[in-house]
Amino acid sequence: MAEAQSSEEEWDALCDLSAMSLTIEKAKMALVSADTKISEDLGELHQLIKQTQEERSRSEHNLVNIQKTHERMQTENKISPYYRTKLRGLYSTAKADAEAECNILRRSLDKIAEIKSSLEERRIAAKMAGLYHDSEPPRKTMRRGVLMTLLQQSAMTLPLWIGKPGEKPPPLCGAIPASSDYVAKPGDKVAARVKAVDGDEQWILAEVVSYSHTANKYEVDDIDEEGKERHTLSRRRIIPLPQWKANPETDPEALFQKDQLVLALYPQTTCFYRALIHTPPQRPQDDYSVLFEDTSYADGYSPPLNVAQRYVVACKEPKKK
């Protein structure tokens, strides 16, 4: 895991740096307090995970019981009131167990999200203090390969939305679009339609810098900073990327369906192109398989390519020309 390695280095380097006498005392304090908070949170997470396993082994016992009862009922080929009552009891226990398990798992995931946001804050604080170091160089000098890895990483760790029974997936979960008055926050990744130097319009992957409510315009940075350009675009030209993965097992309706027209990030690029869904993901960690519109192929489409849920958005424009 190269990316895990790099963040480990980042961690070490930061520890070293905080040990060093820093010129900017304030930043140092912020970093230190952030570090203690993070390590506390990590401890809590560890606890939560242990509790999770306790819950799981408890429910496992009951599940085995259910299994045995099922088998016995089937071999007897008769369903006596006794079994029915028993089954009912077992089911309700198993249900309570499952609920408890879900709760503790949610708490663990929330904790992870919390730690991640602390890390992000600390990264910003470190930036303010001028503490660039090897594992987190200024983006200008980031190599393309590193950028691609980062993008994949962020797609992988996009949280999975798992609702309680009866809960509908929220906007920005999978294929569900944002509400019309949604405003992307600074730092959010978006697909942005920009005019290239040659006059062609292109959907690029970008990061929101700010939004002006008076002008209804976004300021965005091209994620691929080779261009080093900052664009000011009207909100029509911005599509926020999903903030949750949709779970194909529980919310398949929140995924794009086969043959739907979408904009998808072409692998190893930072541009979105029009594509048709070939197969939607089958499991939470799966990617979409899409066919990009590509005139260099005889049938007008590329062979199926994998694109993460995070980088597939609805295509607003109808068929070209």
Binding site: S7, G43, I49, K78, I79, R84, T85, P165, E249, P252
Partner: protein
């Protein structure tokens, strides 16, 4: 018979089927259900009932496994040792080792896998419990119903709003005993129950009445002209042009500068009264006096305005004429004499305090007005003055000019309107006439068609049409032609 699917061996498959969210094969068995896992499951609730309807007596207490709607899912938790290596690793660690930040991403994915599986299990369990409840209800075993409730206090919240409905109906049906009619009863209930979910799946087609609205809006422009329309037009023409009041020119009022001055004065007077009232009560009577003073002052000022400014009793023209004559003699030697005389008088009478007006008063001549009139007449007769038939001031009165202009416009416009209305009335009458003709044409058309039909009928019967029929046909044709001519002419 799909009941077999549920029997002993394929239970595992049955379980898989619900796990994979493809309800298509369940749909064709159940005869129409939505893709929802719950409805997919619920379909099986109906199954045993339909079996009963086929004539099999219900077994109250002991049921065949075949009748059981349960799917016997294989509830297996995720094998975390195999699927979640990082999670397993973290579990085996001691407190001191803890978790590294670099592990967070992987842990997140693994926890998500676990959560996904757990919540799926939760859903299936809820569905199965519901089936079990429904099934027992159907069996009418009230004892088990109660027992079940005791055993299971935590009925899924999701079903709560619907449940009372089903139960209510069950208790209602229970009067009929545990026989067949009851189960049928229940089946209808369950169908209702399913219905509550269905409307979500069927998109409602919005009613489109745009065409109707469009034609309704167009209708007035295309419909026949009626007598009523003509009457409205005639009424419009008849109404006397009640524009007289728009042609009136109101008399000139007081000049605004005078009115404003008066208003200012009154205002000041009021202010003064208020101040003095507020200031002191002693001065109370004085304010009355003041107001009287003001009134008199106002009257004075008015009378002053009426009089020529300099207080001369002679008219405007008389003065001008005299002035002209005096200036001619500007070099005369008597030049100085009038001034000392006047000044002498001045000093002799009142002194400096008297106004020039009071001093002039003795000069007041009795016939100044007639003199003025006569001078004027004379001047006009001499051609030195223009006659005052046309009031000279009017040419400077912008308001009057504007009034006249708009009145002229109004006159032109109303004349135009009247002409148009008359034209419209004429056209409408013509159209009425034509309409009537067209109506007659239609009648004639019908007659012609009638005659045609008769002749065709005769032909089909292979007989020559009778003379009467022929005559009728000719008559109808001729009539039609004559009407058409009228219409064209």
């Amino acid at each position: 018979m799909n009941m077999l699917v549920l029997s002993a061996i394929p239970c595992v498959r049955g379980c898989r089927r619900v796990q994979c969210p493809d309800p298509s094969d369940q749909q064709d068995e159940g005869g129409g259900g939505s893709g929802d896992a719950h409805t997919g499951v619920r379909i099986f609730v109906n199954q045993p009932l339909s079996v009963h309807e086929l004539g099999r007596p219900p077994v109250a207490i002991m049921s065949e496994l075949k009748d059981c709607p349960l799917q016997f899912h294989e509830f297996k938790s995720v094998d975390h040792v195999k699927l979640c290596p990082r999670y397993t690793a973290v579990l085996s660690r001691s407190e001191d080792d803890g978790i590294g930040i670099e592990e967070l991403d992987t842990l997140q994915l693994e926890l998500e896998t676990l959560l996904s599986s757990a919540s799926r299990r939760l859903r299936v369990l809820e569905a199965e419990t519901q089936i079990l409840t429904d099934w027992q209800d159907k069996k009418g075993d009230r004892r088990f119903l109660k027992l079940g409730k005791e055993l299971e206090p935590g009925t899924p919240v999701k079903h709560k709003p619907k449940k009372p409905k089903v139960e209510g109906k069950v208790s209602h049906a229970s009067g009929t005993g545990p026989g067949r009619p009851k189960s049928r009863n229940l089946q209808t209930k369950i169908q209702e129950y399913e219905f509550t979910d269905d409307p979500v799946d069927v998109p409602r087609v919005p009613k489109n009445d745009a065409p109707n609205r469009f034609w309704a809006s167009v209708e007035p422009y295309c419909s026949d002209i009626t007598a009523e329309d003509i009457k409205v037009l005639e009424d419009l023409l008849k109404t006397p042009e009640d524009d007289a009041e728009y042609y009136k020119i109101p008399p000139l009022g007081k000049h605004y500068s005078l009115r404003w001055a008066q208003e200012d004065l009154l205002e000041e007077q009021k202010d003064g009264a208020r101040v003095s009232m507020a200031g002191d009560k002693k001065k109370g009577p004085l304010t009355e006096l003041d107001s009287k003073d003001v009134d008199s002052m106002l009257k004075k000022s008015e009378s002053q305005h009426d009089q020529p400014e300099d207080g001369c009793p002679f008219g405007h023209l008389t003065q001008r004429l005299l002035q002209a004559l005096v200036e001619e003699n500007i070099i005369s030697p008597i030049e100085d004499s009038p001034i000392p005389e006047i000044s002498g008088k001045e000093s002799g009478t009142d002194g400096a305090s008297t106004s020039p007006r009071s001093q002039m008063k003795p000069f007041s001549a009795p016939h100044t007005k007639s003199l003025e009139v006569r001078i004027k007449e004379e001047l006009i007769a001499q051609g030195l003055l223009e006659s005052e038939d046309r009031p000279a001031e009017d040419s400077e009165d912008e308001v009057l000019a504007e009034i006249l202009k708009t009145q002229a416009e109004l006159k032109a416009l109303s004349a135009h309107n009247r002409a148009k209305k008359q034209e419209l009335l004429r056209l409408a009458k013509e159209e009425m006439h034509k309409q009537e003709l067209r109506h007659r044409v239609r009648m004639a058309d019908n007659e012609v068609m009638e005659a045609f039909r008769k002749i065709m009928a005769a032909r089909q019967k292979k007989r020559t049409p009778t003379k009467k029929e022929k005559d009728q046909a000719w008559k109808a044709l001729k009539e039609r032609e004559s009407i058409l001519k009228l219409l064209d002419g």
